[in-house]
């Protein structure tokens, strides 16, 4: 499990990072083309947005594994058992959302086969697919996270303070 998830995380980060690099380059090219090359370009916004949407969903999935999504921590860290129970609850509560991302994300992707992008004319299914793909990875990551939550609840160890907690 850990090994598979680790691999998925690596692939996601690699792809998302590359997409980020692509969309910076795309927008820089747009400025260059319009102002200095005198070329009309109208595909750049669309490519940049496509990369952006994919990278957000891939990044959001990895953030599930790293447990860095924003949470409101009302209880101080001293309440170890309660906090551990809440951690478990928080992870379980993500499951219905992940279910919708996977199942309805797939339906939505199907709908995207008949909706094309405005300037490139490609089916938007290629963009929508980011949602179920991200959902599937979140499901795998959540299994691992829930295992950790359960172990921590049994052994009574304190979870580390989450990075970037809200």
């Amino acid at each position: 499990m850990r090994a598979i998830n680790g691999f998925i995380e690596w692939v996601f980060m690699f792809v998302a990072g590359s997409l980020f690099a692509v969309f910076i380059t795309t927008i820089a090219y747009q400025v260059l083309a319009r102002n200095y090359l005198g070329i009309s370009v109208n595909w750049t916004d669309e490519v940049a947005l496509l990369c952006f949407v994919w990278s957000v969903f891939l990044g959001a999935a990895v953030a599930v594994r790293r447990q860095v999504h924003y949470v409101v921590e009302l209880l101080p860290e001293e309440f170890i058992t309660t906090n551990n129970a809440l951690r478990l609850f928080g992870s379980l509560a993500c499951l219905p959302v992940v279910y919708v991302l996977v199942v309805h994300g797939q339906i939505f992707t199907g709908m995207g086969l008949r909706r094309s992008s405005i300037s490139l004319g490609i089916p938007l299914a290629y963009v929508f697919a980011a949602i179920p793909v991200s959902g599937l990875a979140m499901a795998l990551f959540l299994i691992e996270v829930i295992q950790t939550d359960l172990r921590r609840l049994r052994t009574g160890g304190a979870g580390e303070h989450q990075q970037g907690d809200l």
């Binding site: 980060m13 690699f14 998302a16 990072g17 590359s18 980020f20 690099a21 969309f23 910076i24 927008i27 820089a28 747009q30 400025v31 102002n35 916004d45 940049a48 947005l49 952006f52 949407v53 990278s55 957000v56 969903f57 891939l58 990044g59 959001a60 990895v62 953030a63 790293r66 860095v68 999504h69 924003y70 949470v71 409101v72 921590e73 009302l74 906090n83 809440l86 951690r87 609850f89 928080g90 509560a93 993500c94 219905p96 959302v97 919708v100 991302l101 199942v103 309805h104 994300g105 339906i107 939505f108 709908m111 963009v127 929508f128 949602i131 303070h161 990075q163 970037g164 907690d165 809200l166």
Partner: protein
């Protein structure tokens, strides 16, 4: 239970139970949609729709820029220079934070981008200098709301376009409150710096000022690129952000050689996580905003407000209060688009000038950017500063209070905000 109660109550319970916010919004919406008996596919449609927006692209760029400036040693150079010039004034770094945000605000219409870029540099620096981390986070977030107040402002453009109000007049009207907020924040910084006894340093020698100035000169190209590029019409705010990243890369890798090419993948993937978090929350908030429109709650709110008061000041205060509450769960743009018809009809009944009303609404909604759960600037700042939200929220309360005081002053004394638009754009006010 009425669907709106399901939506709001389940959302509040879920975040209190430590469910990640983006997922709490999602789950509350799923439960509401389930109760309404409509298909859940709307959830993913609305998630996609809310992040499929070009202006949002500026956020990743400025997050990355902040990182490059840090890793590339640019931040240190800027700070050394700032230190040498204003370090001897009490609260120097805090003043710089506010000043930079005011300058930044005059370049960009986006508050979130300001938090990301200024915060990425100044939060670590302020922490290092001995400011309490929650204060550094709070000041950065609070000052960056100026991005939507000092012109240009994306929110004002949208307000004007949807509400048929002069955008130029809104821009002019944003100047005075913007400057007042900035000054009040600098005043508060001075008080905090005194309280925590942040040591003002000795006045630097002229030689040191010159040295640090020379060392900081190349990165100064960045604001010039952004400011010059936008004012000369070379690029839009989003494009300016992308160009600033390219210049930042050239400086840190080419000129300073502080970042090796092999470090780039790491920097890029860290930045992806840093923007995915707020953007995934934006995607989720989009579902909730859509549900609020869909349920027709806006109309009920208008009737409720008019049943309480019909005086000008009373109505404006009610709208302010309502916008503050709405701003905690909706992005300003969504809130404006959803509630504008109601706001404007209340304004007409109460005899409130539409430009003045627009300014009050924009100011109140900008505060929503620093109030959790949907407080994107506070989210980004806490992310950078590694501070928990309750602590950051406590620290930002006095700063919110200052903005509120300025809003109330503007409500009671319309001329305070409206002097500039009245003087320079008399055509926009045919009744006067």
């Amino acid at each position: 239970m009425p669907p709106i109660l399901t939506l709001i109550a389940s959302f509040l319970v879920l975040i209190a139970l430590r469910v990640p916010i983006a997922f709490a919004i999602g789950l509350a919406s799923i439960m509401t949609i389930w109760q309404l008996g409509i298909p859940l596919t709307s959830v993913v449609n609305q998630m996609f729709a809310s992040i499929n927006s070009f202006p949002l692209l500026a956020v990743p760029f400025f997050l990355l820029l902040g990182r490059l400036m840090n890793d590339g040693g640019i931040t240190d150079r800027l700070l050394n220079f700032a230190d040498a010039t204003v370090g001897h004034i009490r609260g120097g770094l805090g003043h710089i934070n506010v000043m930079v945000s005011m300058m930044f605000a005059s370049l960009s219409g986006s508050a979130a981008a300001d938090t990301a870029s200024v915060g990425g540099v100044l939060i670590p620096a302020m922490k290092k200098a001995g400011y309490p981390a929650p204060f550094a986070v709070a000041l950065t977030a609070a000052s960056s709301v100026l991005g939507g107040i000092i012109p240009p402002s994306i929110l004002m453009v949208i307000y004007g376009a949807f509400g048929n109000v002069s955008v130029g007049a809104l821009f002019l009207g944003g100047i005075v409150p913007g400057i007042l907020i900035g000054l009040s924040q600098m005043g508060y910084t001075y008080v905090v710096a005194r309280k925590f006894d942040i040591k003002p340093q000795q006045k630097a020698s002229l030689r040191r000022v010159a040295e640090t100035g020379l060392s900081a000169a190349p990165p100064m190209i960045l604001p010039i690129v952004i400011l010059g590029g936008i004012t000369l019409g070379v690029f839009t705010a989003t494009e300016a952000a992308a160009i600033a990243v390219v210049v930042g890369l050239l400086l840190s890798m080419g000129l300073y050689r502080a970042i090796r090419p092999s470090a780039l993948p790491r920097i890029f993937s860290d930045s992806v996580i840093a923007y995915s978090l707020p953007m995934f929350a934006v995607a989720s908030a989009g579902i909730m905003g859509w549900l609020i429109s869909y349920l027709g709650i806006a109309r009920e709110v208008a009737e409720f407000i008019l049943s309480i008061t019909e005086t000008r000041i009373g109505l404006t205060l009610m709208i302010t209060a309502f916008m503050l509450i709405i701003g905690t769960v909706l992005s300003p743009v969504t809130a404006v688009i959803i509630f504008l018809p109601i706001i404007q009809s209340i304004g007409t009944i109460g005899g409130i000038d539409q430009v003045h009303l627009g300014l009050i609404v924009v100011l109140s909604l900008m505060l929503g950017l620093v109030t959790p759960p949907y407080g994107i600037c506070l989210l980004i700042a806490t992310q950078i500063g590694n501070v928990s939200t309750p602590r950051a929220f406590m620290a930002i309360l006095p700063l919110i209070g200052l903005v509120l005081a300025i809003i109330v002053a503007g409500i009671v004394l319309p001329a305070l905000f409206m002097f500039l638009p009245w003087t320079f754009l008399p055509d926009a006010f045919p009744g006067r």
